[in-house]
């Protein structure tokens, strides 16, 4: 059954603190390629709420991983922040030098990657890697070891002390991902970024890891940025959801509002394509015809215009801003949500 053997009282932080941990203001990221500049992120405004789980949803090429990587300063060599700021406390993360990043990464911001095999060092034991990550602490080896064991137990790895001596290849995929989660939480970061952490896992393990993440997030009270294309896990885990398309946030809101009353035509089409939502068995599954726009030359109007069944002349002409939706905090980048259009 659901492994909820965490003994410490789960402190419910969902209502207590509603302020913002990280504030992304007008962030644009470009990639310089041999065939031109790709405007991968354009004018992103997003707040990562403190002590909550924010889900980033979208299909390949929508920029969700680029956004996640820009929050931990791990963008590729050819990437460039073309504008905007990422504010955390009184720092602007887009202006940090390598030394300042080293001080933040693994301490205040940690990350879990998609593939737990390549995220761990194959030639070093789990224990050594978990000790290495505590290099900042002035405590002795025994204390660091004890802390490593404590966190392996937190992620429900059986027989934790013995696991310190094994190599990554001796563990199954699910166990490796648990080790990665333990290592990410070891330093008690303020922000945990999880980039498709369950994609490489089997279905029954996927749900185990998602409920583990949920329990640990409640317990440690950190903020989580959960990047996924799997709507089922996002609905299961996230408090707030941002839907991305072609380098923009097209819809944002509470998980319930997004899943129950999606307003942006792309969000609606994406949800319609999820076979898990189609109750009757059908041999004719819905798809989204057309392709992503070329992000070297993003269209002047709405990025979804070419594939949208509702578009009209205004969408061609005018880039839609984020309009407020009916639900609290819901924002939609679509002229259909313009209150003045609605009156017509």
């Amino acid at each position: 059954m659901v492994p909820t053997a965490l003994n410490a009282a789960a402190s419910d932080v969902s209502g207590a603190a509603s302020d913002t941990l990280v504030s992304i203001e007008g962030l644009s990221v470009d990639f310089d390629t041999g065939r031109g500049t790709v405007h991968a992120l354009r004018d992103i405004d997003l707040e990562v709420p403190r002590g909550k789980v924010l889900g980033l949803v979208g299909e390949s090429g929508c920029g969700k991983s680029t956004l996640a990587y820009s929050l931990i300063g791990l963008l590729a060599e050819n990437a460039r922040v073309a504008g905007g700021a990422i504010r955390m406390g009184d720092q602007d993360l887009t202006r940090l030098g390598p030394a300042a990043w080293r001080d933040l990464r693994g301490r205040r911001i940690a990350m879990i990657f998609q593939d737990p095999m390549t995220a761990l060092n194959p030639v070093t034991t789990i224990g050594q890697q978990m000790l290495d990550i505590q290099y900042r602490d002035k405590t002795g080896r025994a204390a660091k070891r004890a802390r490593a064991i404590e966190f392996l137990e937190q992620v429900q790895i059986p027989d934790a002390p013995a696991k310190l001596d094994v190599y990554p290849h001796q563990l199954s995929g699910g166990m490796r991902q648990r080790v990665c989660i333990a290592m990410a939480l070891l330093t008690q970061p303020d922000l945990l970024i999880a980039d498709e952490p369950t994609t490489a896992l089997d279905a029954t393990l996927e749900m185990q890891i998602v409920s583990l993440l949920r329990d640990l997030q409640r317990k440690f009270g950190c903020s989580v940025l959960f990047v996924s294309h799997h709507l089922g896990t996002v609905a299961e885990l996230c408090d707030e959801v941002a839907v991305m398309y072609a380098g923009e946030v097209v819809e944002y809101g509470g998980a319930r509002a997004i899943f129950h009353t999606p307003r942006h035509p792309y969000t609606q089409a994406l949800f319609d394509c999820d076979p898990a939502r189609i109750k009757e068995a059908t041999r004719n599954l819905p798809t989204i015809p057309g392709t992503l726009p070329d992000l070297r030359q993003p269209p002047p109007g709405c990025a979804y215009r070419a594939r949208c069944p509702h578009g009209w002349a205004r969408c061609e002409r005018e880039h839609p801003p984020l309009y407020a939706g009916a639900a609290e905090g819901q924002q939609i980048r679509c002229h259909l949500a313009d209150p003045e259009e609605g009156a017509a």
Binding site: E236, D274, P275, T282, L285
Partner: protein
């Protein structure tokens, strides 16, 4: 008579440490597929579902002759293929074809789409001209100008279509599709599945779909089989299994693929533990260490295959 009839198929793989095992007088291999029986009718789609290591891809590799079975029989259109010679296989592979899991990786990066899709025709000494290439491109809904492109110029969905065209080039009677939508975006998955359905309606090809994605199975298959540790735990008409799973593992898999709704949180069976290794099978029922409903008998007694009407399951205390 069924198009494909598999009876008590067993496939073994060698384990590492062959020498040490031999010295100790132990067996050094294990059964990846352990007594599986099923059949596929012409024009029908069977879904084979299971997690990694359940043996579903091993079955595919055995069916198409890339791995020899240890025992059991595979009868395709009245002909035993488990003992087929290389010469027999050349003929059989025209009748059965495979769609590989990795859409781009299974296409040679140095060949154009035209050579890729006509390659099976060339190998089997058939006409492989431009008309044939255009016919195949039309079959999978790609414009003719794609004939000159290379795999790196294709999107994931288009590469899948090329894979389908290659698999259908020789008009096979059985198509084995290994994870046909793995790695595809949701908006494109439907495209590939609709294409397979369409092709089946037009050509009457039988399809074996191998996947871990239950939602896919629900929409495209007539019957489905759920595998665990190299054995079927349940098999039957897809709609009936979804309506009422009898085996606890089927139930858990159905719960692990939930409808995305924040209000439905926590109403599901979540399994603890992980899939055991087929090298070290649990005693009694394979599934008992993870089964939320396991009783004492499950720990010692191996369940039989129980048949009810047109479906079967391997559980002594079905749901």
């Amino acid at each position: 008579m069924s198009l494909l009839e598999v009876t008590d198929l067993r496939v073994r793989y060698a384990r590492q440490g062959r020498l040490r095992a031999a010295l100790r007088g132990e067996t050094h291999d294990f059964e990846a597929v352990s007594g599986v029986s099923f059949s596929i009718e012409a024009g029908q789609t069977l879904g084979l579902v299971g997690e990694s290591g359940s043996g579903k891809s091993t079955i595919a590799r055995t069916l198409i002759g890339l791995k020899a079975p240890a025992s059991g029989s595979i009868v395709f259109d009245g002909e035993e293929v488990a003992s087929a010679s290389a010469r027999d296989w050349a003929r059989l592979r025209r009748e059965m074809s495979m769609m590989w899991q990795d859409p781009v990786g299974s296409l040679s990066p140095r060949l154009t789409v035209k050579s890729l899709i006509t390659e099976p025709l060339r190998i089997h000494g058939r006409k492989a001209d431009r008309d044939e290439a255009e016919r195949l491109l039309g079959l999978v809904g790609l414009p003719c100008e794609y004939a000159a492109r290379y795999p790196h110029q294709l999107s994931g969905g288009q590469a899948r279509r090329v894979g389908v065209a290659r698999a259908l080039a020789l008009d096979p009677r059985l198509l084995i599709a290994d994870e046909p939508t793995a790695g595809l975006d949701m908006s494109v998955q439907g495209e590939v599945l609709n294409l397979l359905n369409e092709v089946q309606q037009r050509t009457g090809v039988a399809i074996l779909v191998i996947t871990h994605n239950l939602n896919l199975v629900r929409h495209v298959t007539d019957r489905m089989a759920i595998m665990y540790l190299g054995r079927f735990v349940e098999e039957g008409p897809t709609a009936r299994i979804f309506e009422h799973p009898r085996h606890p593992y089927t139930k858990a898999l159905l719960c692990a693929n939930p409808e995305p709704d924040p209000d439905a949180r926590g109403e599901r069976v979540t399994l603890s533990g992980e899939v055991p290794s087929p090298v070290n099978r649990p005693s009694g029922c394979d599934f008992h260490p993870r089964c939320p409903w396991a009783r004492d008998a499950c720990k010692t007694q191996e369940p039989d295959w129980y048949i009810e009407d047109d479906r079967g399951h391997r559980c002594m205390f079905p749901l």
